[in-house]
């Protein structure tokens, strides 16, 4: 099969990208708004200003990655949303500890 070479593409750093509205987050994750609101209620992600109404919610770029991971965990490991949140929080902690361990070891 022919290998197609595509012109240069510049990536954006998700964690430092502009804030996302609820609509944009829905689009990027291919999810309906109700599912994302449920994720906010369960604590997968937090709007930057939770006192605002749904339509004015804004999210950090990191939220996008968290939603995607939560979806994969739910689908592949047959856990419910609460289980996925627990896994996400533990994964965050492990990641932090691993970083510290590497820093100390080297």
């Amino acid at each position: 099969m022919q290998n197609e070479i595509i012109k240069s593409e510049t990536g954006i750093i998700v964690e430092e990208s502009d804030r996302l509205t609820l609509v944009a987050l829905c689009r990027y994750c291919s999810l309906p708004a109700e599912s994302l609101i449920k994720m906010v209620e369960q604590g997968v992600i937090d709007p930057i200003d939770p006192s605002q109404s749904y339509s004015h919610w804004q999210f950090s770029g990191t939220s996008l990655l968290r939603v995607q991971t939560a979806l994969r965990l739910q689908r592949d490991l047959e856990v419910n949303l609460a289980g996925a949140v627990l896994a996400l929080e533990l994964l965050d902690e492990i990641k932090q500890l691993r970083q510290q361990a590497t820093y100390i070891q080297r």
Binding site: K7, G11, V14, L71
Partner: protein, 323 residues
């Protein structure tokens, strides 16, 4: 084509019950899930597991597979399913959606059961009120050098993407993408390339490509978030007298002014000389006094003179010890 022993992949006996298979799958899925696992080849193992489970969880497919396995002898070179091997079996189920995306299953699987959709390490495709569907997102890990994070970098990536062939069946097509990694990226961050994931269905938008950034280990620098640090060896007289010392940083050599009378272990901070992220990190230099491996007679005599010049100095005062 290689014969795949799905029982071995799942670590279950040939006569395992459906419940045992389910339990084995759940246990291994947790172990090898790419979001959770730190095992080597986790992604590969997880895909293999998904494929094995796809067959063994379905009694119809399992029976067909078992009959096939009886005709296969270990050590046999290559594998070809006998013609009409599946006569008399009918496969159905939600996982056979006629190729809604990249299944990533092996040739072995596809020669037996056709192309499966769904399953595996792929984002879900929720919604679906119309036939228009956004393509799936793709994920990959990219290793760069710390210096690349200071200057930005270009990487050629070869990706396997699934496209719809003229015959309406999905095909794997390799493509090379030249990716510009923006400067200021930190380890563990993700880069999104819009529309570089799998193509959409029925005019839907393509998915996005996500690249997780990792740094190659560096021989002299340590990285912590956006901060970078270096252990700088200095001579005893440099520590005593101070002065300007040339210090390497990932963005080039700099002159570092060391104050006189500094002790080993002292940390100096160079503000904003870490990774040039949105909030730039700092560069830390830890001073380490090193001595020549052996001292000449002249050097020894001079050190003795130093000792006599300050016999009041007690470096272990904080430990509550006398001289």
């Amino acid at each position: 084509m290689e014969y795949k022993d799905y029982y071995k992949i799942m670590g279950v006996a040939k006569d395992a019950t459906q419940n045992e298979i389910k339990r084995a799958y759940r246990k291994l899925a947790r172990k090898y899930h790419p979001d959770v696992s730190k095992e080597k080849n986790a992604e590969e193992r997880f895909k293999e597991l998904g494929e094995a489970y796809e067959v063994l969880k379905d009694p119809e497919k399992r029976t067909a597979y078992d009959q096939l396995g009886a005709n296969w002898k270990a050590g046999q070179q290559g594998f070809q399913p006998p013609p009409d091997w599946d006569a008399g079996f009918e496969f159905h189920g939600d996982s056979f959606t006629g190729g809604s995306g990249a299944s990533g299953f092996s040739d072995f699987f596809e020669s037996l059961f056709g192309q499966a959709g769904g399953g595996g390490f792929q984002p879900g495709t929720a919604g679906g009120r119309s036939h228009q569907m956004r393509g799936q997102d793709s994920h990959a890990k990219v290793f760069i050098d710390l210096e690349d994070a200071y200057q930005g970098a270009s990487r050629g990536l070869t990706l396997q993407s699934t496209i719809m062939g003229a015959d309406g069946r999905p095909q794997i097509k390799p493509r090379t993408l030249n990716v510009k990694i923006p400067k200021g990226v930190k380890a563990g961050q993700n880069i999104r390339l819009k529309g570089q994931g799998s193509p959409g269905m029925g005019g839907g938008n393509a998915g996005d490509l996500y690249l997780e950034i990792e740094f190659n280990p560096h021989s002299i620098y340590k990285v912590d978030g956006a901060d970078v640090s270096l252990e700088l060896p200095i001579a005893p007289w440099e520590a005593a007298l101070g002065g300007k010392i040339k210090v390497p940083t990932p963005s080039g050599m700099i002159d570092l002014k060391i104050p006189p009378a500094v002790s080993s272990g002292k940390k100096m901070r160079l503000k904003g000389r870490g990774i040039p992220a949105k909030q730039p990190g700092d560069f830390y230099v830890t001073l380490m006094i090193v001595l020549p491996e052996s001292l000449s007679e002249k050097e020894k005599a001079l050190y003795q003179e130093l000792q006599e010049a300050n016999n009041q100095f007690n470096p272990r005062r904080k430990l509550g010890l006398g001289k």
